[in-house]
Symmetry: C2
Subunit: 301 residues, 2 copies
């Protein structure tokens, strides 16, 4: 926050000069966001007495992010990943989606989208497999199912769309792994039935490392941090009348669950896979019910 | 600054969780810089209640910076320029170079390097012109000269290198303007003589607009700001025994001098060009003496 007396030895008027350069046609939200951004960047620089050389390293680092994005034909988003390892996506997710219900049924916690969602996942039939390329070596198949419900009424939401994506047993998503996976392998959209139920076959997820050859790994190394994400399954649930829920589920026995390098684990997203008998497609079962808030519902603030 | 009681409704432990993920092998400086960076980014996001959609716009914006850098073969540094229009380069310049002398002779104020300096400028002879492609239409030639001195002794510094660069009369630097300018036009390095004197012929500088087709202009537009820089001449003075001075000079009658879009004008850098008679090469004269601090000199802090 700005204070009247500067706690530093630099020009006390400089930051307000930059903020006040904004003209009268700036929208109120842009004025608020850019004003706070300028103030925090300047306060940061003065607090650590950032040098020209350090700032230039930062400029090079940001250019390297966009260079990878460009050269990978926009499939590798290191800028998104840097935000994740700095906790920024988890934080804006909390800021955007925080709902405390009045009904006793909490909405399913959201979690970060991450850089691997695809807008092109195909619709599949309820009960289909999402491993269209077959079960990979070391893959374990799970039957995943549940009911999608309204938090205000407890009633099911027929027709809600359950969009799931996950890495394969080698820790890679389809577009990181074109030698082994066809496009949309381990992705799929399912439309809930008249009772709000969805069911499908997926893989027990596998923990994986963020890429070790780019700027995000450089930053993790400078911070002496590991690059591991706990095993997880991504999904997004949508319906025209409800607030969308984008989230991830984590097996409770994963060794990285307490130190997720992108800070995306929440208690109600930690699940137990159970042994399944009598199903010739799967040896594991995961039941997960999803609770959505109607559009416009704010809950207790 | 972190406070004990959070002034917001979000998880009060989240930011310290992210900062404390840094391991024991992080260097003290990295721990300080990254810790403060994470805290200020999180405080910014909570303060303005940044949404997921707004953050994603930010990610796209940063990728667009690196995309231009990559596609321009690293000649167009919009990341650098964004820092300039947010006042960041001027601020880190102040932080890095602030010296208050004990001798009564102030060191020449530094100013931002900007994205147009080149490491490839050729040495030229004292008295040479830097407009190697000739005087452009509307160009006015000035004889620039002065003495480079030590602030602690007032004595000249023989052999100091004066490295000058400027835009042409059309507001463009050589590598923005390959149709009209050869490489290193309006650039040059000059070695001061035994009396610390330098002299050369340059152009009276021309005000120009930052590029109007990229992310920095988008940001300026959102902020309802103009993209103009006042007319200026860049130079950098170096000597093995002295702290380098990178700076810019501004004609006092420039209409943009009070609203430089990169906040780089300082009082002692505002100069008057005077009419010159009896020199068949130039109609204007600019005398500018430069004061350098010895390496290691800190002055009053």
């Amino acid at each position: 926050m700005a204070s009247d007396k500067p706690s530093h030895r630099f020009d006390p008027n400089f930051t307000s000069q930059v903020i006040n350069a904004m003209g009268p046609k700036t929208s109120p939200r842009h004025r608020q966001v850019f004003g706070a951004l300028i103030r925090h960047i300047h306060d940061f620089a003065r607090e650590v007495e950032l040098t020209v050389d350090e700032w230039m390293e930062g400029v090079k680092f940001i250019n390297a992010l966009g260079e990878i994005y460009t050269k990978s034909n926009k499939t590798r988003n290191e800028t998104h990943r840097i935000c994740d390892i700095l906790g920024v996506e988890s934080l804006v997710d909390e800021i955007t989606h925080k709902i405390i219900s009045e009904t006793g049924i909490d909405p399913t916690s959201s979690s970060i989208l991450g850089p691997f969602w695809s807008p092109n996942a195909p619709f599949r039939e309820l009960g289909d497999v999402i491993f269209q390329d077959g079960v990979p070596p070391n893959g374990r198949v799970a039957k995943m199912h549940g009911v999608i419900r309204d938090i205000t009424t407890g009633k099911p939401i027929p027709g809600a769309v359950f969009d799931i994506w996950q890495a394969s047993a080698n820790g890679k998503y389809d577009f990181q792994d074109p030698e082994n996976q066809t496009p949309n392998n381990l992705r799929g959209k399912f439309r809930a039935d008249e009772n709000g139920r969805y069911w499908l076959y997926c893989l027990h997820p596998t923990a994986y490392s963020l890429p070790r050859d780019g700027p995000s790994f450089q930053l993790l190394t400078l911070m002496d941090r590991h690059p591991m994400r706990p095993a997880h399954i991504h999904f997004m649930v949508t319906h025209p009348d409800y607030q969308a829920c984008t989230t991830q589920l984590y097996p409770s026995d994963d060794p990285w669950i307490k130190s997720d390098t992108v800070f995306a684990v929440k208690d109600d997203l930690v699940v137990d896979f159970k042994p399944l008998q009598g199903d010739d497609k799967a040896t594991l079962e995961l039941e997960y019910n999803i609770n959505l808030a109607p559009k416009g519902y704010k809950g207790k603030i």
